[in-house]
Every structure is written in structure tokens, then in C-alpha cells.
């Protein structure tokens, strides 16, 4: 058997001791079903919702005036909008990785983090979608060149363009992620339906649960569907960031036109995503006292994945620099020299500091198991990945082939308002999610309880006891 029993492995357990089916249900379900909204939640939500208003301001102004309110000009036609798009969509990737790839690899420690990581994916994709849609300036007009539908002009999208691939990849990704998330929620909503005392909530969760009754015949199809979805989401998630990287790699701009881009982008996405999962998991487990479910083992595993993908990203930086030199191409060499010593050199070196130097501190177990330190590293990595996209996009565009067409770029206050606004959107959605839906999958947690008998004869977890 390839599936090593998680309970056998050395290190901290993936579930605190003394839990039964009932306590798992109560501990996770009560976070949602408690009558009184906790004060801390209200405070956090107020801040998030406040930030969201900045987005409203940014959008209204953008639609009234036009995208001239943003800092993008020629030669830098892609600024904050694409930087933030790539940043957000990358963050989403960890959710799918945890829910799909780790499921296929039978990594049972994923059970307590997959639900909110999937929610994070959905919200991050929503934030990401905001940018290209509004970068079109007039989204309702742009529909006909983004989506294939029979319009009165008889026009069809150009399927040879990576930007159309992006539309297909991102919209499929959003749809499949939403399906995966919802399918996972069906049994848990049935649990909430049966648990709540309120008539209204019974109806609401009952509708969400679609009449789920836990029939073994249903579970049988359900498990098959869940595995199939995981198997489908795995190539999908790899394709999404690959396609995002094609937006750059198929162009001729020095600094973009590189074959390393797809794997390097995918690794970067997972890296940024795990940083965001840690950023959310650490306060969540602390505030709702979920330390029994999201244990040190989870945090440490996530730190390890983050470090491993961080090393792949670092390799990408090295290859980028090496290839610029090895190509012998004047423009490529200039691009790299300009990145390292030009007007945006500070950002490049900050990026190296954030993404190459910082994650290597996680080699030390002392640091890796220090929660405040992990939280700090996760934030630094998020900043680093934002800088990476800034460096790739802006330093490549601002000085290309013709010195006569060089320029400089900086985001305007509306760029920042939109960016901070999407952070507000992300947090607002996340706060709402934690309040109304179980942030940890109850039925999956039950399968890893010792003696649950969920996996084959007698349950492996139990044999180990």
C-alpha cells in the first residue's frame, strides 16, 4: 500500500486526541450555528467590508472616466491589473492543490484544511477575474470578443490568442472549483440541517443539502464523483497557470518570451497559494480554537510545501538570468541587466530577498514550528510574489527594443484603491464563509478518526492503534 497511515508517521498528529464523531460535529458545526456572532468576527468583518468600499470607489470612477485613471500607458500597457490578476489567480491554486492533488495522493492531513482552502480559491478567482474584466474598460462591450456567442455583428473570438485561452481556462477553473466546493459541502450542510434547532436554518441548509440522507448508495456514487473531480481538477489547475504564463511566453518581449514560464508560474502559484493558506489558517485556528484539527503538523507540512515550491521558483529566477546571458541576445541581456541595476532594481532585489532568501529559513525546524514566524514568512512570500509579477510585467515592458519608446510606470491612487479593494472583497467573502458554512469538512474529518472504518477492512488508522 502506498498510502502510509498518517497516524504512524513521526511528528505531531493530524488530529488532537480524545475526539469522537460527536465532538468533531459539535466543534466544527458550533462555529457556524452559534447564535451570537463573536465580537472579533464583527470587528474583522467591518474592516474587510470597509476595504471593499475602496473597490466600489475605484470601479465607479473607472467606469465614469475610463481606464486612463489607471497608471497604464504605452509602453506599459499592462500594469497593476495584470499584476494583480496573476497574483490572485496564483493564490487560488493552492486550494485546488490541497483539495485535488493531495486527495489523489491520499495525504489525509489535507482533510482539515481543504474546505477553507477551496473557499479561498473561489474568492481569489473572483478577485482575479475583476481585473481583466475591468481592464477592458467597458466590460459589457467586451463580451463579444471574449465569449463565443452568436452576436448581431456575426463576430467570433480569435481562438489563436492566448487571451482567449485565458478566458476559457479561468472560467472553467472558477466553475469546476465552485462545483468541487459545493459537492464537498452537501453532506456537511445535511449535518447542519439535522443539528440546528432553528426552523429557518433547517430550511436554508436543507435546500443546500438537496435532501442528502447519508445513504451508502449515495456515498458510493459520491465518492466516485469526488475522486473524478479531483482527477479532473489536477490537470486543470496545472493548465490554468500554464495558460496565464502563455499570455507572456507567446509574446516576443524580452523577459517574457521564455519556455521556463509555464512550470515556473505553476510553482510560483502553489508557493503563493500556500503562503495565503497559512495566512488564513493561523488566525482561524487561533480565534476559533481549532488547534485540535489544524495542528502543528499541518502548519509544518504547509511550510514544507511552500519551501519546496519556493526553491523551484528560485530555480526559475536563476534560469531566467542564465538564459538571458547564454542566449547571447542583446535585448535579453539588456533586459536582465536593466532588471538588476535599472530604475526598478530595488524591486528586483526585494523580490529575491522575499522569495529566495526568506523561505530558506524554513530549513530550520525551530523556525518552521514557530507560529508567529511562519505567519510572518507567509506575509513576506505574498509580498514577494506580488513583486515578482511587477518585475516580470513592468521591467520587461518599460524598456524593450527601441530606446525611443521607453517609459516608466507607477500605479495611481485608483490602482491602489482597486488592489486594496479586492483584498477587502477577498476578506469579506472569507469572513462570511467562516460564519455561515463549516470551515473544516466535518464528514472528511470523521473518516480520519481512529476506528471510523472508513477505508477498507477495519480502517488503517485503527490497525495502528
Amino acid at each position: 500500500m502506498s498510502s502510509a497511515n498518517p497516524m504512524d508517521l513521526p511528528g505531531a498528529p493530524i488530529l488532537g486526541p480524545g475526539h469522537t464523531l460527536g465532538t468533531v460535529t459539535d466543534k466544527i458545526g458550533d462555529v457556524v450555528l452559534t447564535r451570537k456572532t463573536p465580537r472579533g468576527w464583527l470587528g474583522g468583518f467591518a474592516i474587510a467590508f470597509g476595504l471593499l468600499q475602496l473597490m466600489l470607489l475605484a470601479v465607479v470612477n473607472l467606469l465614469f472616466v475610463g481606464i486612463g485613471v489607471w497608471g497604464v500607458t504605452i509602453p506599459i500597457g499592462w500594469g497593476f491589473d495584470i499584476i494583480n490578476f496573476v497574483w490572485w489567480i496564483g493564490i487560488g491554486h493552492a486550494g485546488t492543490l490541497i483539495s485535488a492533488i493531495l486527495l489523489l495522493m491520499r495525504q489525509e492531513w489535507r482533510m482539515s484544511i481543504n474546505r477553507f482552502a477551496e473557499a479561498m480559491t473561489l474568492f481569489a478567482v473572483a478577485c482575479a477575474a475583476f481585473y481583466p474584466i475591468f481592464h477592458t474598460g467597458r466590460p459589457w462591450v467586451a463580451a463579444y470578443w471574449l465569449l463565443p456567442y452568436p452576436n448581431t455583428m456575426g463576430l467570433w473570438p480569435n481562438f489563436r490568442s492566448p487571451l482567449i485561452w485565458d478566458v476559457f481556462a479561468v472560467s472553467t477553473y472558477a466553475t469546476v472549483s465552485a462545483l468541487f466546493w459545493y459537492v464537498g459541502l452537501i453532506p456537511d450542510m445535511a449535518t447542519l440541517r439535522d443539528k440546528t434547532g432553528s426552523r429557518l436554518l433547517k430550511v436554508v441548509y436543507g435546500m443546500g443539502a438537496l435532501g442528502w440522507r447519508g445513504s451508502i448508495r449515495h456515498w458510493h456514487n459520491y465518492e466516485t464523483a469526488y475522486l473524478l473531480l479531483a482527477g479532473l481538477a489536477t490537470p486543470l489547475v496545472v493548465s490554468v497557470h500554464t495558460v496565464v504564463s502563455f499570455d507572456f511566453a507567446t509574446g516576443l518581449v524580452p523577459g517574457w518570451h521564455a519556455t521556463i514560464f509555464p512550470p515556473y508560474f505553476v510553482a510560483g502559484a502553489v508557493y503563493a497559494g500556500f503562503a495565503m493558506v497559512l495566512t488564513l489558517a493561523i488566525p482561524l485556528r487561533w480565534y476559533y480554537r481549532l488547534q485540535d484539527f489544524i495542528t502543528m503538523r499541518h502548519l509544518e507540512n504547509m511550510a514544507k510545501v511552500m519551501m519546496a515550491t519556493g526553491l523551484v521558483v528560485a530555480y526559475g529566477y536563476v534560469i531566467e538570468a542564465f538564459m538571458a546571458w547564454y542566449s547571447g541576445n542583446t535585448y535579453e541581456m539588456f533586459m536582465m541587466k536593466n532588471r538588476m541595476t535599472g530604475p526598478y532594481a530595488v524591486m528586483y532585489w526585494c523580490l529575491i530577498l522575499c522569495n529566495v532568501v526568506t523561505p530558506n529559513l524554513l530549513w530550520f525546524k525551530r523556525l518552521r514550528t514557530s507560529i508567529p514566524f511562519l505567519f510572518l514568512v507567509a506575509l513576506v512570500v505574498s509580498v514577494g510574489m506580488w513583486l515578482e509579477r511587477f518585475v516580470i510585467i513592468v521591467t520587461s515592458l518599460h524598456r524593450d527594443f527601441l530606446p525611443a519608446s521607453w517609459g516608466m510606470y507607477a500605479g495611481t491612487k485608483y490602482d491602489w484603491a482597486a488592489f486594496i479593494g479586492t483584498i477587502g472583497l477577498f476578506l469579506t467573502l472569507f469572513f462570511l464563509f467562516v460564519r455561515v458554512l463549516p470551515a473544516i469538512s466535518m464528514f472528511e474529518m470523521k473518516t480520519i478518526l481512529p476506528g471510523s472504518g472508513a477505508h477498507g477492512s477495519g480502517g488503517e488508522a485503527e490497525k495502528a492503534r
Binding site: 489563436r160 447519508g214 473524478l228
Partner: protein
């Protein structure tokens, strides 16, 4: 429910088991005894229980394969039709049928249709959404989504007999209680 308590008003008999191992052992005996219209209700999926009840393999993978193939054909067909027939455009001198570029969207529609089939197919095979089901009439059944393990033998089973089946269920190891399920 209503006053008519003949066998016609009975959906079946439901036994509540103490734990997962008891229900699997019980389900084996129920299958051995020849009952076929049997269903288990558990808070999480249990492979052992599916095996004990000798459930056939799910047909879902075949449906999903079909959905994926359909998605691929539709996606590629749309690209071919729009780029070659409906709106031919010369983009950088590439052939109208530039198949390497068409792979990516066709791949995405393949995944989209396959995933959609997986979810809708699962719901269809399970007969969901279903607003009413008799098992919910059993008072203790709310536990099935929490920590209860239930096994129901339906009244439509040819071997079903109100008294005999009840006695049989009560004789199984680890049964907490046996209740009648009203229609």
C-alpha cells in the same frame, strides 16, 4: 402519520447500530440472509459497508468519460467552425485551421463538461435533489449525519416480513434499536 397502519403505510424497518464495525458485520449478515433492498445510512462514506451490501460499481466514470469526449468535440468544433467557416481571419499568416492553438480551449471544455457530468451525474444517479424521504420520519435519524449508523430493509424487498425481519434485525450484534419507517 395517518391512521392506516397496514403494511402499505410502511416504508421499511430501520436498525440503529452502535458503531461502524457493528453495522458492517450486520450488513454482511443481512446480505447473506438474501435481503436485497437494503440501504445503510452513515455520517461518512464507508467502503466496507458498500462491499458488505454488494453494491455494483458506479456507472459514473463512464458517464464522465462521455461528458469529457462531448466537451472536447464541442469545444474543438466551435473553434473550427468559427475560425474556418463562420469568421475566417488571417492572423499572422497562420492557417485558418491552426490546430495547435485550438488545443487549449478544447482541453478546457473537455474538463468543464467532464466535471459538470461528474456532479450532475452523481446527483441524478442518487435521485437528488429530493425534498422528502420516509427515513426522515424516524425520530433518531437526525443522528445519521452526526454519529449514527443505520441500516434499513425496505418493505418492497421480497423477503420482507414485518415481524420476521424485525426479529432478525433485533438479533444482530450491536443493534441499539429497531424502528418502523412510515411512508
Amino acid at each position: 402519520m395517518s391512521a392506516e397502519v397496514a403494511t402499505s403505510g410502511l416504508y421499511g424497518l430501520m436498525a440503529e447500530f452502535r458503531g461502524p464495525h457493528e453495522i458492517v458485520a450486520g450488513a454482511r449478515l443481512v446480505t447473506e440472509k438474501g435481503y436485497r433492498r437494503v440501504d445503510g445510512y452513515t455520517p461518512y462514506p464507508m467502503e466496507d459497508l458498500s462491499e458488505a451490501l454488494e453494491l455494483p460499481r458506479s456507472v459514473l466514470p463512464k458517464l464522465v468519460l462521455g461528458g469529457g469526449i462531448l466537451g472536447c468535440l464541442l469545444g474543438y468544433g466551435l473553434e473550427y467552425w468559427s475560425a474556418v467557416i463562420a469568421y475566417p481571419l488571417n492572423i499572422g499568416g497562420r492557417p485558418l485551421h491552426s490546430w495547435p492553438s485550438f488545443i487549449v480551449p478544447a482541453f478546457e471544455t473537455t474538463i468543464l463538461f467532464a466535471a459538470g457530468t461528474a456532479v450532475l451525474g452523481m446527483l441524478a444517479l442518487n435521485g437528488l435533489p429530493q425534498p422528502y424521504h420516509p427515513v426522515f420520519n424516524v425520530a433518531s435519524f437526525a443522528k445519521a449525519s452526526r454519529d449514527g449508523f443505520f441500516l434499513a430493509i425496505e418493505a418492497t424487498d421480497p423477503k420482507f416480513d414485518r415481524a420476521d425481519t424485525r426479529r432478525f434485525l433485533e438479533s444482530l450484534h450491536g443493534v441499539v434499536q429497531v424502528s418502523e419507517i412510515e411512508e
